[in-house]
Amino acid sequence: MQATTRKTALPPRVRHTVGITVRTILAVLVTVIMVFPLYWLLATSLKTEAEVMSSTITFWPKVPQWVNFAYVVNKVPFFRYMLNTAVVTALQMTSELLLGVLAAYAFSKGKFHGKHFFFIVVLGAMMIPIQVTFIPLYIVIARVGLMNTYWGVWIAGCVSSYAIFLLRQAFMTVDDSYLEAARVDGMGKLGVLFRIMVPMCKPTMITVGLTSFMGGWNNYFWPKVIVKVQNMYVLTVGVQRLRTSYGGEITNNYHQIMAGVLLSIIPVFIVFALFQKHMLSGFTKAAMK
């Protein structure tokens, strides 16, 4: 009843325009709210201490304080953190992709007894998160003397069953005739895998690579457990320590902390900007499987 009266009150075209306007305003509003924390991160990182501690809101600093970034870099071994994170992430990406591709080939095109069983073993590992297994892993790593090393951080994430699963799904779509043709031309198994299957499944490779990069760069739990020396901190852990950089007391030097946080996530922004399309499409694709 109400709907019909409204219909007669306004011609459809006006109703349409009103609808679009309301929707756009709402959408922009939501976006502003969602982006605000990141904007606030940037704004705070450029403020003076007085602006941070003032009782009114300073939306943008009067004079951007680039010195905050210099302070963070000098106060803590920031570039060392970044190097540690980069090394661990690179190790993790390499092993996840390499071992993932090999295993995915075996599980999709390979022929051996127990293939099904081993694949169940791989999938089952997804049900056992690091939050369950970290105590025994910690003990083992401490025993073999890998505490505070890249290898110690790397080992817990060096194979991803999720990566194997996604790559297997992709490899299964490759038609056998391509492989047979290549074999007839005298290509070896590894050649077929790396010269034909991997290039044919490039989108999935990129998705898996990106997931792996994000997982490595943003990893927090395991590095926190295994690294106790400041020089070996990864960024996520090191940035937390900025909060206690004045003699262990938790402080409100948020302009400096925010500068540190911002520096630590710049690489993620770059990757996001470069691969945005792949990320959005890749992740929805992964979800549908």
Binding site: L38, Y105, A106, M127, T284
Partner: protein, 315 residues
Amino acid sequence: MFLKKKTRTMVINGREVHLRPEKFYWSDFFMALPAVLILILITYYPVAELIRISFTDWRLTSREYDYVGWKNWIWLFTAKTSLRYLTNSLRVTFIYTIGNILIDLGIGLLLAHLFNHLTKPYSFMRALIFMPRYIAMSSCGIIFLWMLNTDYGVINKMLEWVGVKNHINWLGDDNLALVSILMLTGWHGVGYCMMIYLSALLGISRDYYEASSLDGATGLQQFRYITLPLLSPTTLFLFITTFISSMKVYQSVDVMTGGGPRQKTEVMVYYIYRLAFDDNRLDRASVVALLFFVVLLVITASTLRITNKNVHYEA
């Protein structure tokens, strides 16, 4: 027997053709082996170790330990302190999980409808909303810690505009601490749910809507009787993944509240971590970790069962 060669025959064009026997390629086997072995070493073996440690009196500080039988298990289910902390952490974890699912899926679905518009500006806005997911939760935690700061935080200052003169102690309040964490994780995860829902929405044929509007269905009825049922596989997928990842929550709690105030935000993983590395009780931590593992398994298994029963797969 393992490598027995069977000759298979097949009839092609009326002629009997001998096919090569089913082969066992060692090369294929060895390609799968490294990944499988490492996975067994870093996931299955530690679970077995957990069971073993749960029967010892292993402290973090000592290398020696004795087997003490069921002592830790008895401690877990009978000791007063253990029961209080355990039920508390279970309760906090479940409240957090339910809250997180409601926020992520509910708001995610709303946003998916709002941003269901295939133009350039909208796709830009979608990317912005999606972005937080790629920033480390620990970094996001610090940003929220600062925004929720009692004296200088921007949120309390903005609340002053609408008349809330007393600054709210977000992270120190028994009830608001968990709300603060939910705000953080909601902000972090809602964009992902939106994108997944959106791609599912785009997969629903327009015909359903046209046909139903010819029959006089209102927008709400269409949502209730067409959109929601057809989205149920997606909802279920998001429900399961969000459920499991919420159960494992640690980073946001560690950064924002450290389990406080008065254990009001002490989730399961945090409790395990505290037992192991603050109380140095590896044995007790193992018992709780095993219990946590069983809870996770039961949830996964039961949700998978529900999947097969109640979901409409046609779209």
